[in-house]
């Protein structure tokens, strides 16, 4: 627990139920009990949150940044929407991750990745209504590191098709 900061990110759209759930006093109390000190919210196009303040838990928010990688690295825990980009960025930075699935999205295929990450013990996942329970029971130390993707396999595959004998690779 380096900084005690919890980053909450909704990606490029909005997810107001997620943000308002996180802003409740109850969630703040749970996080405080677990030793976290600060909530940093990336709210996208959503409504400005009504924060129920409790003592010992700072809350800040912003809409968008070109890159939130610095914020991810500065955090001890990340609560993220289920977008693949956000989830993989957090796992790549080796930070504990809780994926919060948006049930309001129809035909939600994003849940596939969240479930898979949970099954393979790389992250926790839940809906907004299950968030409190997940935060109470989770054990972030038991999560397994997520190996990074192998783009070089793709390059090798194409090189083979075109008969290139190439070991070049920048990544």
């Amino acid at each position: 627990m380096a900084t005690g900061q919890v980053l909450v990110t909704v990606g490029t759209t909005k997810f107001d139920l997620f943000i308002s759930t996180v802003c409740s006093a109850e969630v703040s109390r749970i996080l405080k009990r677990r030793g976290y000190k600060k909530l940093l919210l990336q709210i996208g196009n959503g409504n400005i949150p009504e924060v129920e303040c409790i003592e010992g838990m700072d809350v800040e928010y912003f809409r968008f940044k070109d890159s939130i990688i610095q914020d991810i690295q500065d955090s001890s825990l990340v609560l993220s929407h289920a977008g693949a980009g956000s989830c993989l960025e957090v796992l790549g930075a080796k930070k504990p991750l809780v994926v919060v699935v948006n049930e309001m999205l129809m035909n939600n295929h994003q849940i596939e990745l969240a479930k898979q990450l949970f099954t393979k013990e790389h992250a926790y996942y839940c809906t907004c209504s299950e968030l409190k329970e997940t935060l109470v029971h989770m054990n972030v130390n038991s999560l397994k590191p997520f190996p990074s993707g192998k783009t070089e396999n793709f390059a090798n595959f194409l090189n083979e098709i075109f008969g290139f004998n190439d070991t070049f690779g920048i990544s």
Binding site: A84, H109, Q110, L113, Q116, P147, L158, I161
Partner: protein
């Protein structure tokens, strides 16, 4: 009578060629013998997460071998456009870069009615035909969403008539673990290779290829 026989012959030929292409008996293995110096590459840029995944794959390629590169993207997608320039800056070798952008009209704008989107889709397809005829790529890289279908279909038809010998590669998004996207399902027939990123998905769709998680 002559015309009739000719028409039958032509249709038979088209049908057979399409059948063989779908079966993937032709193409794809022919490439090795050709001894390419470099591969003319067409990269179809989707939007949002699709763009990010595609550009990660593009970054892994040798920019000298996969050159020149043409990026197809929707008109007005400035976010993707600036991301392409960032990647190309990183791919520069000897201070030279060999790429260009081709902006095509959107098939459907957000909030547009389904009826009018029929016409905009047709317009978008018609717009793509000359682009493809001029480009004649050796390699087409796509990863969805649905906007990549017109390009792949045009490439398929061009292949029937030997107007293009490009290999079409579709890479399914990493977020697909148990089901293929609609684009993926369609392109099982029209693309040469459909790559998936989870072994579970490959088991379900035997025609796909799994070479590890890529992004």
């Amino acid at each position: 009578m002559f015309l009739f026989v000719f028409a039958c012959f032509l249709f038979g030929f088209i049908f057979l060629r399409a059948f063989l292409l779908v079966r993937k008996d032709v193409t794809y293995n022919e490439h090795k013998e050709k001894k390419y110096q470099h591969v003319k590459t067409l990269i179809v840029i989707g939007s949002g997460g699709h763009t990010a995944e595609m550009l990660r794959l593009v970054r892994s390629l040798n920019p000298k071998l996969y050159s020149p590169r043409t990026y197809i993207l929707a008109k007005g997608d400035f976010t993707s456009e600036s991301k392409i320039h960032v990647v190309e800056e990183a791919l520069k070798c000897d201070n030279e870069s060999n790429y260009n952008l081709e902006r095509i009209p959107r098939s459907r704008n957000v909030g547009q009615s389904y009826f009018s989107s029929i016409f905009t889709t047709l317009y978008s397809i018609l717009y793509c035909i000359p682009v493809m005829l001029i480009q004649r790529p050796n390699l087409i890289l796509t990863n969805g969403p649905g906007t990549c279908i017109p390009i792949c279909l045009i490439a398929f038809v061009m292949k029937i008539f030997y107007l293009c010998e490009g290999t079409t590669v579709f890479v399914e998004s990493v977020c697909r673990v148990t089901s293929l996207s609609l684009s993926g399902k369609i392109l099982l027939y029209f693309a040469d290779v459909v790559i998936v990123q989870w072994p579970e998905l490959q088991k379900k769709y035997k025609k796909t290829k799994y070479i590890g998680r890529l992004v």
